[in-house]
């Protein structure tokens, strides 16, 4: 995405002096409102929905999506986009299934590290070769899919040793699925690191105005590579979660998670132009998307509408959260 950026910050003293208006406060809580409204609507449509069992099942399905969206949010906050997460996740499921017999208990760690390294390579290509992030990751998407097809011989690989992923299928306190617990833990850990270190302001500065951040001495390049690395590692973790559920690795397993993940990020309210947003927002966004996914059949809408809805949601949410002061020409 190479969008022309204003060389000087737009003169808009009203925004600087006054706090957020009521309308702005309301829009920033929009994802939560949407989540509650969806829950209410689904409960009205089917009173059985608001039971512990179905809610547990819903958050359990949402875990891989939460992790994927959380990682990619960092890249979006830097002003880029990562379109390769789903393909990298599929590739990682294949890695997991192939490495499990040799590595045993260490497989999950190895997959996350490998996926993180692949993410770092994409980040380096973006930063060093100065290629727009969406074209790097679109190329990555294509490369990862084909590597996954080649090494898996284009078919699913069964995971026989189920003990290695058993911990992810447990329940914390008998209620919260371990996968979801881990997902929230990852989000909290990333958020904590951001909060306690200067990284938060580096990312925000990079996203809001890269040239200004560079002039101010922000390590822009390292921040971007780090964001891509975390995004890749998250794709690896999501792959471990998928394998723990499906007991197999397949070269196309996660491919249909790209749109939901992008939708989760933008529905959460993270601006695609970078800078504004947070990783918690993507958690809420992912829950909204998951509720939509499990909710549509309850309301009686055919699942084909799911795709159409994703498309409409992505465009609408991006239109609402876009920072128009920053982009002169929309390409």
């Amino acid at each position: 995405m190479s969008t022309p950026v204003l060389a000087t910050p737009a003169a808009d003293p009203a925004v600087v002096s006054g706090g957020p208006t009521v309308g702005q406060r309301l829009t920033s809580f929009m994802p939560l409102i949407a989540l509650v409204a969806l829950l209410a609507a689904l409960t009205i449509a089917d009173p059985d929905f608001l039971t512990q069992r179905s809610l547990t099942a819903a958050v359990r399905t949402s875990a891989p999506l939460v992790v994927l969206a959380a990682g990619a949010t960092l890249v979006v906050l830097c002003g880029g986009i990562d379109l390769s997460i789903a393909a990298l996740c599929s590739l990682s499921t294949v890695f997991f299934a192939m490495w499990l017999p040799d590595l045993g208990g260490l497989t999950a760690l190895a997959v996350v590290v490998a996926a993180g390294a692949i993410g770092a390579v994409q980040g380096l290509a973006h930063v060093l070769l100065r290629i727009p992030s969406f074209i790097v990751t679109l190329g990555g998407l294509s490369i990862f899919s084909s590597v996954a097809l080649v090494i898996s011989d284009a078919g699913p690989i069964r995971v026989v040793d189920r003990d290695a992923t058993k911990w992810l299928t447990l329940y914390v306190g008998g209620v919260v699925p371990m996968a979801f617990f881990v997902a929230v833990l990852v989000v909290a850990a990333i958020a904590l690191v951001l909060r306690l270190t200067p990284v938060q302001s580096w990312i925000t500065a990079t996203g809001f105005s890269e040239s200004a951040a560079r002039l101010a001495g922000t390590p822009v390049d390292r921040v971007k590579v780090a964001a891509f690395t975390v995004s890749g590692a998250c794709a690896g973790l999501a792959a471990v979660m998928l394998v723990s559920r499906n007991f197999s690795g397949s070269p196309t397993m996660a491919d249909n998670l790209l749109l939901p993940a992008v939708a989760a990020i933008v529905v959460g309210g993270t601006a695609i132009t970078g800078g504004h947003g947070s990783i918690w927002r993507s958690l809420v966004g992912a829950l909204v998307i998951t509720l939509l996914r499990v909710g549509l059949p309850i309301v009686g809408v055919p699942s084909a509408w799911e795709q159409i809805l994703y498309g409409a949601i992505i465009v609408a949410a991006v239109a609402l959260t876009l920072d128009r002061s920053k982009v002169l020409i929309i390409k």
Binding site: P132, L138, S142, I143, S145, S146, G311, V327, I330
Partner: protein, 336 residues
Amino acid sequence: MTSPVEDVEVVAARRPQPRRGVSLRDAGPPIALVVIFLVFSALSSDFRTIGNVQNIMDTAAVLAVVTCGITFVLMMGSIDLSAPGIMGASAIAVALLVANNRNDNDLGLIGILVAVLLAAALGCLSGLALVLLKVPSFMTTLGVSAVGLGVATLMFAGVQPNISDAMLKGWAVERFLGFAYLTWIAVGCVLLGYLVQRYSRLGRYAFAIGGAEEVLALSGVKVAPYKVAVFTLAGAFYGLAGVMVTSQLSAGLVQAGKGYDFAAITAAVVGGTLLTGGRGGILHSAVGVLLITALTNGLVQVGVSPYWQGGVQGLIVVAAVAAAVVPQRRRNQVTK
């Protein structure tokens, strides 16, 4: 930059120098195409047969039509990821409108026209979202692609429509001067695209929008309608490509356009179209299409697994974009 000495000796040398670089850029892809042909001809005896050249041309047909559409969008500096969705929708639509096993429709050419119009409408949708909602094109087209796939799935309704229309089926099988009808349709599309790009206001403005949109807007041109028109035109090309895939498969498939978006971007970029817009064109892209198809064909002939196809395209596109960015590294401080 010309040195003062040259200025004195040859007055004609005052022409702006960058032209030399441009002509090299224009010559690069055709040279690469010839090199690829020579290399694979030397490596594989199956590659250098007349039959295989026909094969390459026939394989390139659908990609060529998709690339015609995407080239106009890239010329504006936008990007289009909607090909898979739009092609899927038009593939199913045409399969349901001509003679098929699902219903009693037998509209023939009108059915094809309706499918192309549906595709154009979807393309128009992404153009409208771009100019009205001011959402970047890679997001609008990602959204429209999802919408197209959804529409296709709705029409698919669980039963695959197989076509029995003799004319549409014949397009893929019957040959004229050694090439399938589909190949001639693709050649026609390239010619049409070239004429639009060269002689119509739409094509000229698409170039200008990619080169310097501010300047065009400041000189009083209303840019928005032309942007919508370009996306609509691109949608129509994808629609025709979807029809062509249906003709090849004799059936409508939701996944008819899978992978074509990226393959078309690769072909256009390899042909010399810049992603920043303003440079390149239909003929460049046509060379790019032949290059990609010959490379894919050649790799399979020398025994590389066909699954590598996407990987090779990914590497090529990253390398080509990186190479195109090198001359303007300094200028391009901000890369998103």
